[in-house]
Amino acid sequence: MGAYIQFRNITKKFGGTTALNQVSFDIQEGEIHCLCGENGAGKSTLINLCGGIFQPTEGQIFIGGKPVVIKTVEQSEKLGISIVHQEIPLCLNMTIAENIFLNRKEAVKGLFLDKKYMNEEAAKLLKRFQLNLKPTQLVEELSIAEQSIIQIAKAVYYKPKILILDEPTAALTDDQRDVMYAVVRELVKTQKTTVLYVSHRLEECMELGDRATILRDGCFITTRDIKDLTMDDIVTLMVGRKIDRSKKRESYVRDEVLMEVKHFTKKRQFEDVSFQLKKGEILGLAGFVGAGRTEVLTAIFGANRPDSGELYLEGKKVNVKSPADAIRHRISMIPENRRDDGLIASMSVQQNAQMVVLDKIKNGIFLNKKKSDALMTKMTSDYLIKAGNPSNPIFTLSGGNQQKVVIARWIANHPSILLCDEPTRGIDVGAKDEIYGILRKIASKGIGIVIVSSELPELISLCDRILVMHEGKITGEVGGDEATEAGIMRYAAALKDDYQYADE
């Protein structure tokens, strides 16, 4: 086995920022190679160089011993490279099958697209990924988890020589992830596919990877065999110092009820959902994708009107008709999908960060540049946002840093209730702890927090109480202290006997 992909002295500069600095390492044929690093370390940039999105400022990539120049996405595909990018670029207005065969010759018969062939092949693929969807469904109807699986499926379908996955599991549940593992392992075994894998869930790297390369601030640190590493080793290498991940959970729950959801029902989304949130409480919502968690959150926030049900804030019945109403009642929501629902691509980092806090930077009717800059500086340091120049467009930030901007914005709004939907999607270990710390701190001030997360360890370490949903209904409740992954999963799957116990 020799080096299959070689990076030699790769440097990539964006104006003043150096995203990659003289990076050299090798990936061997048929291995699963993990790429680890903090937010903004340069992982996606390296991948974009392989995908023909950017060209290196300096340096050379070799594939199979030959120097290659990858100027376009097409050239990258010709080299047998298939990439699942961090942000999902699917055509929302097209069907699953159409997306899978987008710009592909396989489905073209003469002048026409062979719809039957496309749908049959897509159906097989969906089955392989255990997705209960029809090939003719529109992508916009799918959850983000399903969209990311479609992305992975699309990449795998063409039997690539090199498969690159940039945080493919950020939105997936454990089950979906296991299915993906199986597919990737099969590709490696049967076709000697070489895999480059990026994930902030280090346990995935430990489980799946053969070797890992660590980047820090755009520089190559080391490449090691995974079996010689522990997760703590990787973290230390990534951050360049030891971090303490064993912070103990404290509870700040007070007696006053902050919010009460009563009998929220919406056809085909959720049914008779009722719960209370106390001041200072961190309440988790667990369940599989499609269990209706996001729908419930958006219903509280006024972005998705329930068919029936009532919402009480501090004992008073309120009618939240729109997100603007919710914000007036001091409710914040960090949405699940930062690109579509959180960020405005045409605006700068600073403008995006200060979207809901304009009142705090106004002098009379005018927005004040000084106040705005001061607030930005504070946000960047509180949330460890790595942004060269805050007046650059938001898309120049790495994925994790974009997510931090969304979080910073909503907490700066001083909510009394904070709804979070997968708040740490794409955020690195160090910054995750920082954000957990911030959430605990605002909880200690009496703010109530509801968190939807597919990462059970996150919920278990953070929440005072966890509600589990299954097919739109709350099927169980576990206290934060006695919560275990297995216990939660049982409710989430609504296993028969436990279900009955839960009702008693």
Binding site: S322, P323, I327, P335, A345, Q351, K362, I365, F366, P393
Partner: protein, 318 residues
């Protein structure tokens, strides 16, 4: 510094404008004479004022094809009222309010019934063109009573020293609009609405209200442009404002706004409007047949937008 210059979005169009001015001055030195140049700026007023409303709208992700018809309808309406000796101030206000009302109608059609702006305003464009003809009976309207001609409404067509008053009006409108757009929450909300309506809605911006406001402003400034035009010309031609919408949209796009929303500035739009009147004036000076005017504006439009994409491709691709 270089970074700063690069992020200065209007740079491209400013270059185009300066190049045009230099070329025209070389070909016809009279172009740069104060009289002619003031005339060029005055010719910018109509398109410029209407383009202010269009800029708000295009930034918010919408557009308004009915501005020319609003110009026609409100112009004919005011002229008829002037002729029947209604108090000129009242006539003026009625015309502006009718402009606002048509804007409101456009806004409601687009936001509440979800008809795309292109179609909704194409519809109202046709409707109010007919209304304009109906008001005037298909005739042009001119010769107004003495009392009206002496009122402040007609002073808008006059001059202050060598400079037409309408230039001052345009300047004030551009400055106020520029400040609103760049420095207030209203402007911010417009950029957000055009940039990503879903996300804007989720941060609590009432995107429907932002758009309706844009349509109302667009209707109001179109009516104002009509009032200035009557005051200056002393008449309203039968086809007043016909085809104007395309010049107005061209000015906004020349100025760097994006039809997909979220991008654009008032300075850019002003330069865009200037380019159009410089081209028109230049063609006359060079005695190029009038029918070439539109063609040449088309060429400049495509070249300027091309220049803009080339200059800014870098930062989006790395």
């Amino acid at each position: 510094m270089k970074e700063k210059l690069k992020s200065f979005r209007e740079l491209g169009v400013i270059c185009v404008l300066i190049a045009l001015i230099i070329l025209l001055t070389i070909a016809r030195p009279v172009f740069i004479s104060p009289t002619n140049f003031i005339n060029v700026v005055r010719q910018t007023v109509q398109i410029g004022i209407m383009a202010v409303g269009m800029t708000f709208l295009i930034i918010s992700g919408e557009m308004d094809l009915s501005v020319g018809s609003i110009f026609g309808t409100t112009g004919m309406l005011a002229a008829t009222l002037y002729k029947s000796n209604v108090n000129p101030t009242v006539a003026f206000l009625v015309a502006i309010l009718v402009g606002c009302a048509i804007g409101l109608l456009n806004g409601i059609l687009v936001t509440k019934t979800k008809i795309p702006a292109f179609i909704a305003t194409l519809g109202t464009m046709k409707i109010f063109r007919s209304v304009a003809y109906a008001i005037s009976g298909g005739q042009s309207i001119s010769v107004f009573p003495e009392s009206v001609m002496n009122s402040w409404v007609f002073k808008m067509g006059g001059s202050l020293g060598p400079i037409p008053i309408q230039i001052f009006i345009m300047a004030v409108i551009f400055v106020v609009a520029g400040i609103v757009l760049a420095k207030t929450e209203t402007g911010y909300n417009m950029y957000a609405t055009g940039g990503n309506p879903k996300a804007a809605n989720l941060v609590g911006i009432n995107t429907d209200r932002v758009k309706i406001m844009g349509f109302i402003i667009s209707g109001a400034v179109s009516a104002l442009a009509a009032m200035i035009s009557i005051a200056y010309l002393g008449s309203v031609p039968t086809t007043a404002g016909e085809g104007r919408e395309m010049d107005v949209i061209a000015a906004v796009i020349l100025g760097g706004a994006s039809l997909s929303g979220g991008r654009g500035t008032m300075l850019g739009t002003f330069i865009g409007a200037m380019i159009i009147s410089v081209v028109k004036n230049g063609m006359v000076l060079l005695s190029v047949p009038v029918f070439w005017q539109d063609g040449f504006i088309g060429v400049v439009l495509i070249l300027a937008v091309l220049l803009d994409t080339v200059m800014h491709r870098k930062d989006s691709r790395g």
